[in-house]
Symmetry: C2
């Protein structure tokens, strides 16, 4: 049997993928996934995603040594150490630390997947690596695969859709069977792969971030296969997959 | 101001496009839109879409001279004159007639758009023509544009998504501003435009129709710009736009 590949467009639909028992790849290119990946690349031990601000502040009270990071409406919050710019996660600041992270949709998508057995974090930055690990795990466990995109307000976000396509386009052909949504994503990625930054910059969310002054984040997040690492979310924490 | 172009993936979301006051293009390539277009091309005077079978049978009782056409689960129904194959609508059978039509999702999508001022029917068969008319009407009326796709069970259908892309790709550049969904559709279409039949045949719905023996319908429905006509839905009827 081929591995079925499906896509849920919005964090609120994560539960459908969990109920199917799928291996889940959470994708929030701008910027939660990209920040988590760059954080781990720069020595962060673990990222603890929370859906609510309240939960994030409560955890910080319990663990004053943890970093508190994230955003609402794109901006860093009161009492936070860092915002949600991947580029803020530099080694001098984050090496060896645990970070509590709360963002508008990405961390909510992760938390909603907490009952799934396998949850990976994907972005353009690690597309090839996450595709490879996904193929291995899915075939070993006879699990199907779902992308959970962190669409805002339940809408499709172009950058996450293209990223799901980037990852799915690297699954070994023949052994994976794509839903209409997954095939649409692959086709979109194939159309733009040589001009990723140009097309991602046309997305609703990229335009908003560029207005806020985060153009460097958008550009960095478009670096395809910049890292070979795969973050895995288990027991409430995102860590590097060994 | 640029004309905003948006996409609703499922018939159940048609109401959002209606509430925005948009010009709506209803797309159900397989097969409702394609059947309506071929019906009008072969002399049908009007198509009356109904959401329910009950309503269709009731109308037929009131108008015994009307044709009763459509499907459930892809197949023609008891007491129906025709199913939902575009190719059944031959001139000898349909010329000069009015047809009551009920299908699984296409006619439901239309009926849900009944309170919108401008509702057009689009498919690959008339993509260029419907794009041209849409651009004229939208600019004259300062209306924005929404595609309403007839996704089954609220899921995206690849063939309708690609068709929205086919139509949107023909809007005059510069004067139209695409949502993430609309841009994703355009990118998908641009990727497959030279192999439309091949990719449409990979869609969930096409595979199902091919299993039922309707491969010719799938192939016919992929003929890009085969007709120059535009069906318009107004006062409960679909007729040729003059």
């Amino acid at each position: 049997m081929a591995v079925r590949v499906d896509v849920e467009f919005a964090a609120k639909d994560a539960i459908r993928a969990v109920k199917r028992g799928d291996l889940i790849i959470v994708v929030d290119v701008l910027r939660c996934s990209s920040s988590i990946i760059n954080a781990l690349a720069n020595g962060v031990k673990a990222v603890i995603p929370t859906e609510t601000l309240k939960e994030a502040y409560r955890l910080r009270e319990q663990h004053p040594d943890f970093l508190l990071v994230g955003e609402r409406k794109g901006r860093k919050l009161k009492g936070f150490d860092l915002g949600n710019s991947p580029l803020e996660f530099v080694r001098e600041v984050v090496d060896g630390k645990t970070a509590i992270m709360t963002t508008t949709s990405g961390t909510a998508a992760l938390v909603r997947c907490r009952r799934a057995e396998h949850v990976l974090v994907g972005a353009f930055l690690n597309a090839g690596a996450v595709a490879k690990k996904t193929a291995e795990i899915a075939q070993r466990n006879k699990a199907d695969v779902s992308f959970v995109l962190a669409g805002e307000k339940g809408l499709l976000s172009l950058e996450d859709f293209l990223c799901a396509g980037a990852i799915a386009s690297k699954f070994p052909t023949g052994r994976f069977s794509f839903s209409d949504e997954a095939l649409a994503a692959v086709l979109g990625f194939e159309r733009v792969k040589d001009a990723l930054r140009e097309y991602v910059s046309k997305s609703r969310h990229a335009k908003h971030l560029i207005e806020l002054g985060f153009k460097r984040d958008v550009n960095f997040s478009c670096k395809l296969d910049h890292f070979g690492l795969v973050p895995v979310y288990r027991d409430g924490k995102v860590t590097l997959m060994r």
